[in-house]
């Protein structure tokens, strides 16, 4: 030991602590498996289960007119694929009953004098929705009015033709182009979100839980009796956890890019560097939490509050543009908000630093503050 410089012996101590941490992680293989498996589970769930555009809505029909035109209208509903006409009844009341019992989510009532009403130019079709199912109503509402409008156009066009008018075409064509994600593929949207949320959850949890556990069991004090200093301890803890987080990130990326064919448009190097920064700041956040929480239960509760806020307020799934300013500001305090914008920018849009330096700056400043604060508080707590 005599020939060694202070630096060398410190490196040795950190190395030893890293080994200890790594052995602990590998020994608890069940937890490790869960950590590595959870993101894959989450991706498959989101990819295959989540579809917000609703079609094939189970629909009950009461056609009181039973005419040719009401049949045309119902055919249009059916061929739109938005409505599956499954049940036929004979009154409005029975339609409502079918919705009440949950057999159908939507209902169509066509009045008895539908044909005559059309000739007079004022036919009314009643469409009823189950309002306890908000998603279906939102999609169905739009589809129903669109179908009614097209049917109207058809009727008008027929009349005009009979009256001897020339061709009848819509004067304005709109073409909507969806940039970056032309088919509105949900996975292209979800992948960055899954990466952001999982990395945050994982990094915070890893350090918070393991530090608090060692505190609870008194292991931290035992280690500090050895020549190891708080700094060595924290670095020794960080490095293996950085490895796990990076491994997790790699798994998500590989599955996303190769299985779900999510394109990666931008610079991978930039993505890797900023992700590393995000991982380190997340781990530091975990250390910060460990200085506040006394038991694992408390640590778990704090992390789950942060997780909940992150899932709802950072734009992972729910649009941030519709939030009231105060709520949006709370979301602005969470680093995932910026990290998400950055990785969506890199992965989906393929843009570089020139377009998003503000978000990067915020992330860097936040990272530095958390890392310094964690180091200071952790040291203070142990000294």
């Amino acid at each position: 030991m005599q020939g060694e410089s202070a630096m060398q012996s410190q490196a040795k101590r950190i190395y030893a602590l890293m080994w200890k941490e790594l052995i602990q992680i590998l020994r608890d293989w069940r937890t490790l498996l869960m950590i590595l498996g959870l993101p894959i589970l989450e991706m498959f769930l989101f990819a295959y289960a989540v579809n917000m555009t609703i079609d094939h809505i189970p629909t009950v029909v009461a056609d009181l007119s039973m005419g040719e035109r009401s049949q045309t209208f119902l055919d249009a509903m059916q061929t739109s694929e938005f409505f599956d006409l499954e049940l036929y009844t004979s009154s409005e009341q029975q339609v409502i009953q079918a919705i009440e019992s949950g057999k159908a989510v939507a209902g169509i009532v066509i009045p008895p004098d539908f044909e005559a009403q059309i000739d007079r130019g004022s036919a009314q079709v009643l469409i009823i929705f189950d309002g306890s199912d908000a998603y279906t109503v939102q999609s169905g509402y739009r589809a129903a009015s669109a179908i009614a409008q097209t049917q109207s156009m058809v009727v008008v066009a027929q009349k005009l033709q009979r009256a001897g008018a020339a061709e009848f075409s819509p004067p304005v064509f709109t073409s909507t182009r969806i940039l970056y994600n032309p088919n509105m593929d949900g996975m292209i949207f979800m992948l960055p979100g899954v990466i952001g949320i999982l990395l945050q959850m994982l990094t915070m949890n890893l350090t918070a839980m393991s530090v608090v556990r060692e505190q609870e069991l008194g292991i931290l004090e035992q280690i500090l009796v050895t020549p190891a200093r708080p700094f060595d301890l924290i670095v020794g803890k960080m490095v293996p956890n950085i490895l796990i987080s990076v491994l997790d990130l790699a798994i998500i990326l590989v599955v996303g890019i190769y299985w779900f064919k999510v394109p990666f448009q931008g610079s991978f190097l930039l993505f890797a560097l900023l992700s590393l920064l995000f991982i380190i700041s997340g781990l530091s956040m975990g250390v910060l939490i460990s200085t506040i929480a006394k038991t694992q239960k408390e640590a778990q509760q704090i992390t789950s509050v942060v997780l909940m806020l992150s899932m709802l307020l950072t734009g992972m799934m729910y649009p941030r543009s519709t939030m009231p300013p105060a709520v949006s500001a709370v979301g602005g305090l969470i680093p995932v908000t910026y990290y998400l914008r950055i990785i969506r920018g890199i992965m989906t849009k393929g843009i570089g630093l020139t377009f998003m330096w503000q978000d990067v700056l915020v992330l860097v400043i936040y990272g530095l503050i958390v890392i310094v604060a964690a180091a200071k508080l952790f040291k203070k707590r142990l000294d």
Binding site: M52, F173, I178, Y318
Partner: protein, 375 residues
């Protein structure tokens, strides 16, 4: 079975609960925070999307069109540029989410009936993109309809442009208030998560600390121990549910249409499923960390597939079946049925039967594995 011994364990549970004030406060406050977030933060009806315009026609017709777009309330026009490249750049930078590009000679094309307008939408946010896509369509249709009406009038035809009108009526929630929809789902979710988490952590904690063995040295039997452990958790879970429901009704004005008694007792039955699952998780996990990971995975699957956050009708059949395995999936329609629709057992008996059968099966399995774990 001795009520006295069960009561003793229950008391011990309560004492432990009240000693740890911070945790208790968190437990009671968390659902309320969650509710406030859902009530005030989440709104899937996107509007006022920041939009940039490149109008290369600059004539009266193109301006009228842009005005029609702005008047819809969906797109907020925040700036003007001169080329479609600049529109794309603004979206790249993230300054705006949508852009409108009108090529030159809009008025002339309009007369010929082949005017083109292109909308550009930021696709990296799919939810906003989907709404914008639909809105652009509707606005264009309305605008075209208006022009057509004028055309027809000029032709002198005495026609209605809208001979068929769809009158839409939304039952139970006529104004489509989001929170009315959220409250029943949240009650169901809280009942499930809280009962599961509380039971698991309480049992794993005792196992790690070795106090379960100490308890078993006393004359208490495993079933009594289990019941004693379950009761405090059940009460906290129900308090949580009631605080959400109460806030929903008092603060957010959510109407409670059905029978409260029926809802309460079905909630109690449903909570037992979470308590049972908790026993099961605690008997397969060795440490708190493991238990936490398992719970996280279970809850993730249950919440995604259960129909609380995402519509179940669009899921593939295989996933629907997996979803059916979770009791939460069966309780959500019950909660919505009673709270929002106001229907009773006569309409809900199928779901209620499914729920009761599941709870019974889960309890049976979990009691078995809990006993085995101890003996």
């Amino acid at each position: 079975m001795s009520l006295l011994r069960i009561w003793a364990v229950t008391q011990k549970g309560f004492i432990q609960l009240f000693r740890d004030r911070r945790t208790l406060a968190m437990m009671l406050a968390l659902p309320i925070i969650q509710l406030l977030l859902f009530g005030y933060a989440i709104d899937m009806n996107v509007d006022h999307v920041p939009t940039i315009v490149a109008d290369q026609s600059q004539d009266a017709e193109s301006r009228a069109y842009i005005e029609a777009v702005a008047a819809s309330g969906f797109f907020d026009i925040v700036g003007y540029v001169s080329s479609s490249e600049e529109v794309a750049q603004a979206i790249d930078r993230g300054d705006v989410i949508a852009g409108i590009f009108i090529p030159p000679d809009f008025a002339a094309h309009l007369k010929r009936g082949d005017a083109q307008v292109s909308f550009l939408v930021d696709g990296s946010d799919v939810i906003t993109a989907q709404s914008a896509y639909a809105a652009a369509d509707v606005i264009a249709q309305n605008y075209a309809g208006k022009l057509q009406l004028e055309k027809i009038k000029r032709m002198g035809a005495a026609l209605q442009t809208q001979p068929i009108d769809a009158r839409v009526r939304i039952l139970y929630n006529p104004n489509m208030t989001n929170i009315w929809f959220t409250i029943p789902g949240m009650c169901a979710m809280i009942l499930q998560t809280q009962s599961l988490v509380l039971t698991t952590t309480a049992l794993v904690l005792e196992r790690e600390a070795g106090t379960i063995e100490q308890l078993l040295v006393t004359p208490i039997r495993p079933v009594e121990l289990m019941l004693g452990k379950i009761i405090p958790n059940l009460i906290i879970t129900l308090v949580n549910m009631l605080s959400i429901l109460g806030m929903g009704i008092l603060v957010f004005g959510v109407p409670f249409q059905g029978s409260f008694q029926l809802f309460f007792w079905l909630s109690v039955i449903f909570s037992f499923s979470g308590l049972g699952l908790g026993l099961l998780v605690s008997s397969i996990s060795e440490t708190q960390k493991q238990a936490q990971q398992i719970i996280m995975a279970v809850m993730l699957v249950a919440i995604v597939l259960g129909g609380f956050m995402f519509p179940r009708t669009t899921m593939p059949d295989a996933l629907k079946l997996i979803g059916d395995l979770f009791p939460l999936t069966h309780f959500i329609p019950i909660a919505r049925g009673i709270i929002t629709k106001g229907v009773g057992l006569d309409m809900l008996w199928e779901q209620v039967t499914a729920l009761v059968v599941y709870v019974a099966v889960i309890l049976l399995i979990s009691v078995r594995s809990f006993k085995q774990g101890l003996e």
